[in-house]
Assembly symmetry: C2
Homo-oligomer: 203 residues x 2
């Protein structure tokens, strides 16, 4: 009644609408608990049981919504790093990518937190959403800097772990402790990459 009945093949449409609604609610609330099934279906205009035609459980819906958010994060990193053609400035690309990560985390603190704060099984199942591509991009960026002679020697994978940890730590702490007087994010990224990767400090 609140919704014109869907035609035969419209299942994927409702599926997308439900994911959209879940993503919106997750971002607005920054709290998975506020994202109830009834709030999701209300926003779309259907009743709770409709959801189970497209998702096995609330768990599964949330997992897919979180996977979408990981995709958005990866895009923010890519945009910060700039076009891959501009390989002339390996250090600038690495810095830009890291800043893109941090800016994204700071701009949607609720959305960032829920990437890691949802219940553990949601995130850790083998085929669950992960930050693998982002991590590989980070390690690749560090290796690029080494080849360009602007980073110190060392295993780029291990360096990437530390940088990733630093970014993740900063991202979640900035969101969780907004009252602290954090230095500008450019400076945090610069300190991190200078210390951990050996990039020359910005002029």
């Amino acid at each position: 009644m609140a919704r014109t009945r869907a035609a035969r093949g419209d299942g994927d449409l409702l599926r997308d609408e439900l994911l959209d609604a879940a993503e919106q609610l997750l971002n607005e609330a920054g709290d998975e608990r506020a994202v109830t099934i009834r709030a999701i279906v209300d926003r779309v205009g259907v009743t709770p049981p409709s959801l189970y035609r497209h998702f096995d459980s609330k768990e599964e819906l949330i997992r897919q919504a979180v996977a979408r958010r990981f995709g958005a994060l990866a895009r923010a990193i890519g945009e910060g790093a700039g076009p891959p053609a501009a390989a002339g400035d390996a250090a600038g690309a690495l810095r830009g990518g890291c800043l893109g990560y941090l800016d994204w985390a700071a701009s949607e603190p609720g959305g960032y937190a829920l990437l890691f704060s949802s219940r553990r099984e949601t995130l850790l199942s083998p085929d669950g959403p992960s930050g693998t591509e982002a991590f590989d991009a980070l390690a690749g960026g560090i290796a690029g800097c080494q080849q360009a002679g602007v980073a110190r020697d060392g295993d780029p994978q291990r360096m990437a772990m530390l940088v990733w940890a630093g970014l993740h730590g900063l991202g979640s702490l900035i969101g969780a402790r907004p009252t602290i007087a954090w230095p500008p994010r450019e400076q945090l990224v610069d300190d991190l990459l200078t210390g951990l990767v050996g990039l020359p400090p910005r002029g």
Copy 2:
């Protein structure tokens, strides 16, 4: 019936028992959602309304249980750093404190995660639990290393932010991604402090 009736002044006893049960459940589950009021009171042997004589809400109980966990983390850092009398080895104390943090996070991944994953209002209210003492201890340890001539110059508060972020990032990522082949925690701490604070690498 499941419990001998408490005497007059035993209110604080039940209060402590409830906090103990909440802490246990939080650690076991690593998921705040599994910690229901009914599970908590069942473990203690009372009925749900009893809880409201001691806590305004489930929220308030969880917040106090989380504050207890922050205290345990602070103790683990202190034990790792060793007795303050042993000021002869400032670098060793800083390294030990950081390793204590990381070991504690790794040994109770569920318990560590919930320090930051509980709903935001729980953690962020002005008088809520925080890691302030731990942060101050970290900045103090860095300043001590500078005075001992084993750390590079710079604002110890800013260095502490970066080290804290690195530790927090490593702590939560190690817990959240147990399948990754993480290097030994001693090495991670060493890399972090060498890069960000300028400590000489361990021999």
